[in-house]
């Protein structure tokens, strides 16, 4: 796997022609960096990811991979899917086999790999997602969080350059979210570019190198601090401002935080605060 740049420009797409969900949306997935796609329910996050993955052909606009335009032909899609994989929000939309290991093998088998290669891919994907212990378990006995990670393993076994995840942390408890994020970090080390959609602004601030907010059919992209600090944009996007930015700004005004980027989560904030009473100047 190597890093390729996935991009979209001028995407118009949706299910009703008169009211497209996306209307001229452009986005660049920075190779090798973490991108969080933010938006309220129904804003078009999923539609955007489906366009990027090739699952949905936009009415207008184009999707490119390292500059080469995605063509919605059998061969074009086949080539695109080897590099870009989408994991849907509901794992039951992707798991069809009763056995976890067999389900994960589906993609590699479709790529026409030899049995040994398939076996290696499956083992690798299960290990990356830390679900090797589930290999022998039936899909229908897994918990929701486990099914989500197995669905991710199914995509990872295709060894995509870019992995698109639709709401990978939705419905997971804090520990499961932590496990999912750890898995994403391992993927990144294995040279995949990871994109996740979410409406959790605190999570996006904590995790992402870059964020893209889907609002009114378009995309506003930038650093987490800038984009998630833009109150007017967030209001339009029906999102909240992350608490860490709100509280951090006030504490900086009080002279309690050093210059530079604001802390992105509670741990970083505690680390940045002075240990004892006494005000910085």
């Amino acid at each position: 796997m190597s890093h390729l740049t996935l991009a979209a420009s001028g995407l118009t797409a949706g299910y009703d022609r008169r009211r497209p969900v996306l209307d001229g949306a452009s986005l660049t997935v920075p190779a090798g960096r973490r991108l969080a796609v933010l938006g309220a329910n129904g804003s078009g996050k999923t539609t955007l990811l489906r366009c990027l993955s090739g699952a949905l052909a936009p009415a207008r606009g184009r999707v490119t991979l390292d500059g080469a335009e995605l063509r919605h032909t059998r061969a074009g899609l086949r080539a695109h899917r080897q590099e870009v994989q989408l994991v849907l929000q509901d794992p039951d939309d992707q798991l069809f086999s009763a056995s976890v290991a067999q389900d994960v093998s589906f993609g590699p088998v479709n790529l026409g790999l030899t049995e040994d290669e398939v076996r290696a891919r499956v083992a690798e994907a299960l290990a990356l997602l830390a679900v090797t212990h589930l290999a022998e378990r039936p899909t229908h006995q897994l918990s929701y969080g486990e099914r989500k990670r197995v669905a991710m393993a199914g995509a990872v076994a295709m060894r995509p350059c870019v992995l698109l995840l639709d709401e990978p942390t939705a419905g997971l408890d804090p520990t499961a979210v932590g496990e999912a994020l750890a898995a994403l970090a391992r993927l990144q080390e294995a040279d995949s570019t990871v994109v996740m959609s979410t409406h959790d602004v605190d999570l996006a601030l904590r995790w992402a190198d870059e964020v893209a907010v889907v609002v009114d059919g378009r995309v506003v992209q930038g650093t987490p601090e800038t984009v998630l600090g833009d109150d007017a944009l967030l209001a339009r996007a029906r999102l909240d401002r992350p608490w860490a930015l709100t509280v951090g700004a006030r504490l900086r005004a009080l002279g309690l935080l050093p210059d530079g980027a604001l802390p992105r989560d509670a741990d970083a904030l505690l680390a940045a605060l002075p240990d004892s009473p006494g005000v910085r100047t």
Partner: protein, 243 residues
């Protein structure tokens, strides 16, 4: 979680990793034995063998096995009693009623126990690929595999919807219960279509072009298990026929 007790037992069984072919040989032999051997002592021996193997080496929970074997019992009892009731000028027992009823019940219970031995040790998804050897087409096996996966998804929907209906008094009278069941069946039917459509989308992204091909699982046969099976079945037949 909506599980089926027999299915749960199969996945947890100590024989889960045994070759389905080996288990088919054993259970198939017992099923045939239950059918063709004289009920006494043949059926009894078959039933005992199936129960001992299931609860012993295969470590199937006794509760699960016991409950499951109870299910066909109503049919077997009524069916056997009806067979030995004689109707002509009046209603009465056939002359050999007790023996014949005993034989019928013996064959059927032994057969059911033998099938249950297979069912509680072998998940459906291991058995379906074995059908390939019987020249069942791949397409049919794939349809059956999808059925197996989706029935749990739909069963969860069914129980949840029914629970929600019950909470809102949807099953408080026979009349309401019928109305609610109609709504329930329709809801599950629409969900099954919706599931199929969404799964199709999801699998297209994973490169589905023709079939649902996956890596076959290798559960190698055990020579020892096969030899013991053949020897045991031969012993059963000998005892069953000679006694």
């Amino acid at each position: 979680m909506t599980g089926l007790a027999i299915d749960d037992a199969a996945w947890a069984s100590a024989w889960r990793r045994r070759s389905p072919a080996d288990k088919l040989l054993l259970s198939g032999g017992l099923v045939v034995g239950a059918l063709v051997l004289p009920a006494w002592p043949g059926s009894v021996l078959v039933a005992l063998t199936a129960v001992v193997l299931a609860l012993g080496p295969a470590r199937v929970p006794a509760l699960t096995f016991g409950r499951a074997i109870r299910l066909p019992l109503a049919f077997i009892t009524i069916g056997a009693l009806t067979a030995v009731v004689q109707v002509g000028d009046g209603i009465g027992w056939a002359p050999d009623a007790a023996t014949r009823a005993g034989e019928l019940v013996g064959h059927a219970l032994a057969g059911s126990a033998a099938v249950l031995l297979l069912a509680t040790t072998t998940p459906m998804s291991d058995l379906l690929p074995a059908l390939q050897r019987l020249r069942v087409p791949d397409a049919v096996i794939e349809v059956a595999s999808v059925t197996y996966r989706l029935l749990f998804v739909l069963l969860t929907s069914l129980t949840t919807i029914r629970e929600a209906q019950t909470a809102r008094m949807g099953h408080s009278t026979v009349r309401r219960s019928y109305r609610s069941s109609g709504v329930l069946a329709a809801a599950v039917l629409t969900r099954s279509w919706d599931r199929a459509r969404r799964l199709q989308d999801g699998l297209a992204g994973r490169g589905m072009e023709t079939g649902l091909r996956v890596l076959p699982e290798t559960l190698p046969s055990s020579r020892r298990f096969e030899a013991l099976t053949v020897a045991g079945l031969a012993a059963l037949v000998t005892v069953g026929v000679l006694a």
